[in-house]
Structure formats: C-alpha cells, structure tokens
Symmetry: C2
Subunit: 113 residues, 2 copies
C-alpha cells in the first residue's frame, strides 16, 4: 500500500470521521451511515477507500458487514512524523530563533483576495 494511498485516504474529513468512529468499536455499515450523515452508497465508497488503504477490515455477519479499524498503517504516518517531532520537541526555541531570523514577513504575504 503506497504512502500516497494512505495519505489520500485520510485527507478526506468524512473518512477521518469514520476512522475516528471505528476507534471506539467495530461497527456495521448502517451505523456508520447514521453517524456520518452520508448516504449509504457514499459511505460504502468511502469505506472501500479505507479498505484499500488497509485502514479497516471487514467481517461478515449475516447480511451485515462489520468494519473494524486496523491502525497499523497509521504507524506509517507516525514514522513519517518522527523527524518533525524531533524538531518541535528538541527546542522550540532553537527553531523559533531560526524562524525569527527568517520571517520578516507575516505568515502569508499573499493578497487575501
């Protein structure tokens, strides 16, 4: 599963919501539909994306499909974060100094139009 697939899957707020929902417990599609307020087809499509990113697994229970979170891929994100975490842990002041020298501009100089 490419990193891109993972990032793309989580880039969508509805999908993050679903993942967050499944954090509490596994859940059949119907409940996810109710919780997210999306249509059933749309929900199923999002779940498919999550499946393909390896973020969820399905168990079949009669006609129902119960989705459960698989947090393993998220470890990949964690690994990606590591170098940055090092930055903001190891001295926000060091970084701050670097940024102070560096920013004689406000955060975003683009004309807000």
């Amino acid at each position: 599963m490419s990193a891109d697939t993972l990032w793309a899957a989580l880039a969508d707020p509805h999908r993050r919501a679903m993942v967050g929902l499944l954090l509490t417990r596994p859940m059949p599609v119907g409940e996810i539909v109710d919780a997210c307020g999306l249509s059933q087809p749309s929900t199923s499509k999002h779940l498919k994306v999550l499946r393909e990113a390896g973020l969820v697994r399905v168990r079949q229970d009669a006609q129902r499909r119960v989705y459960a979170l698989d947090p393993a891929p998220i470890a990949e994100l964690d690994a990606w974060l590591a170098p940055y975490r090092r930055l903001w842990n190891r001295g926000l002041d060091t970084l701050g100094r670097r940024l102070d020298e560096t920013a004689d501009d406000p955060r975003d100089p683009s004309p807000k139009d």
Copy 2:
C-alpha cells in the same frame, strides 16, 4: 487553520517532498524547483498551499524567497495520531485478537477488477 487544510496540504506527494526537503535547511524557490523537478510556477503554487497551511514561512532575500519549514502544524497531526498510537503500542496482540475474530475475510474482498 483548519485541520482539513493541513491534511489536504500534506496529501500531495510533491508537497510532502518539499516539506521533507526543507527539513534539511531553508531554501530558495529555485533550489526547490531543481530538487523536485517541477516547473517553477507549479512549485510556487505548491508552496503557496504549504504557506496557507502554516507549514512553511518565507524570508525575502533580495529577489529570492527563502522558504523555511514550520513544523508546528504537524504537531496537530501528532495529536490526531495519539489515540491510534495508543492502540498499536498497547498490545498489538490485543488488537490482533480483535482483528482475528473480526476478519474471516482477506484484507480487501473487493473484486480486483
């Protein structure tokens, strides 16, 4: 800065590459163009997205714009990750059991067509 903006900014692989590049040191646009192999306009547009997500800052040096990483927003991701990290740290076996009960299906049952 909404979480969506941040995720969207990082969802693009070129932008992640730029962020990773700026992890080593601040850098003017020209160098980023060379390193990423994108056109200069495209690069500028990506940098704008990163700016608007608060991930980079600009310092003006004569005609050059030197971009520097601001890892602060990434802390937001780290916070988002926390609950999941708890899952995979605190007993992959517990989770594993949950998934085993749960998965009598291969990872993704969708017809690979």
